[in-house]
Symmetry: C2
Subunit: 219 residues, 2 copies
């Protein structure tokens, strides 16, 4: 799979811009757990995932985390390139959740392209609107949903993403996704276990009654 | 003040588009407290505030509210026109906090303009990035800040917006801004009063020690 197959408005660019982009783009490989962007204001460029999975999260001063979105194959991330838009003034940290290959588009190249090309600017709009929708969904969850429902929904989503009911994870990692202390996760998982919805073991959480978890989400 | 003075990329449009926009735009007057957009998926068009103040908020099923941003003179709102971008899939409710005059740009006109004009598409990007930054700030507040700090920051911000230390508001209205039950607001305001930071009376909250409120925020 080439860059031109992944960049959605490739066919709307003229040959000069296609060559400029290809000349600027670099492919980077990041091991599972590796940091792609450290949340500083450093403008590393835009990310376009070739294969793998990235997690974008925000971090409190005290080191607590909450996942704000994930990026899959062909997804683009703008927030590693805050210099592209002067109104973007917040920082996210981006790490690889799986071994990941990611293209990096230099910020200054993309910025000029966006200024010249309405299709690229509109595509950028759509990418931002998608992330915005995800963040608004998260805001609603955090504001109005109790933690048991958020945890149940997260576990069900993970079984789909990982393709297995037996999740290799820690209570701390789950807490970092959901913006919650590890102790709170442990307490709720134990309650889920007592209710027969999950089975806990060292570094695994197994979903044993997905239907019951789902009915908890829907309640 | 004319529409052409408020629309930021007016000078970058050719005469045909300037005429199309002027022909489509309508000016609407909304009384303080009136609803501009009811949060349905109805695509009413983009809003451009001429004078006044709008509040955009999300609403839970149970009727709880939280303010996600406010719009002042010359600010534009995209989220009353979700049909302009197919990836925008959440709804906000927009009400007037003061008597407000607002231009409504028809969605289909703006959509075509954005598709043709890179400056308009880039301007739209900047507007969305600004709102995104506000929502991320809010997310951080909600996730990591204790309620006393959020309430103190809100009261200080209100004194600046209203130009007075004596705020005409109710505990319920404050709760609706901050996504919190009225009882929680009342309890915290009473604590602030005991600490000499505010003075409470019927439908007013007076800030009497702004410096102490500020040091609470900064703590």
């Amino acid at each position: 799979m080439e860059f031109s197959d992944c960049f959605p408005v490739w066919d709307k660019l003229d040959g000069t811009w296609q060559r400029k982009l290809l000349a600027g783009v670099t492919l980077r490989t990041v091991k599972k757990g590796g940091l792609v962007h450290d949340g500083s204001t450093e403008c590393m460029g835009l990310l376009l995932v070739k294969t793998g999975r990235l997690r974008a999260y925000i971090l409190s001063k005290e080191g607590r985390e909450i996942t704000i979105y994930r990026l899959f194959d062909r997804d683009m991330c703008l927030f590693s390139a805050s210099c592209v838009m002067r109104s973007l003034q917040f920082s996210v940290t981006i790490e690889a959740e799986k071994d990941t290959e990611v293209w990096i588009i230099p910020a200054e190249v993309y910025k000029r392209l966006m200024e010249e090309s309405a299709p690229v600017a509109n595509y950028t709009n759509e990418v931002m609107a998608t992330r915005f929708t995800e963040v608004m969904w998260l805001m609603e969850q955090v504001m109005w949903k109790s933690f048991d429902k958020r945890l149940a929904a997260f576990l069900l989503e993970e079984t789909v993403l990982e393709g297995t009911n037996c999740l290799e994870t820690t209570h701390e990692a789950i807490g970092n996704h959901l913006g919650t202390a590890r102790e709170v996760v442990t307490r709720m998982l134990r309650y889920f276990q007592e209710e027969g919805m999950v089975r806990l073991a060292r570094k695994t959480v197994e979903v044993v009654d997905g239907a019951k978890l789902q009915s908890l989400c829907d309640a």
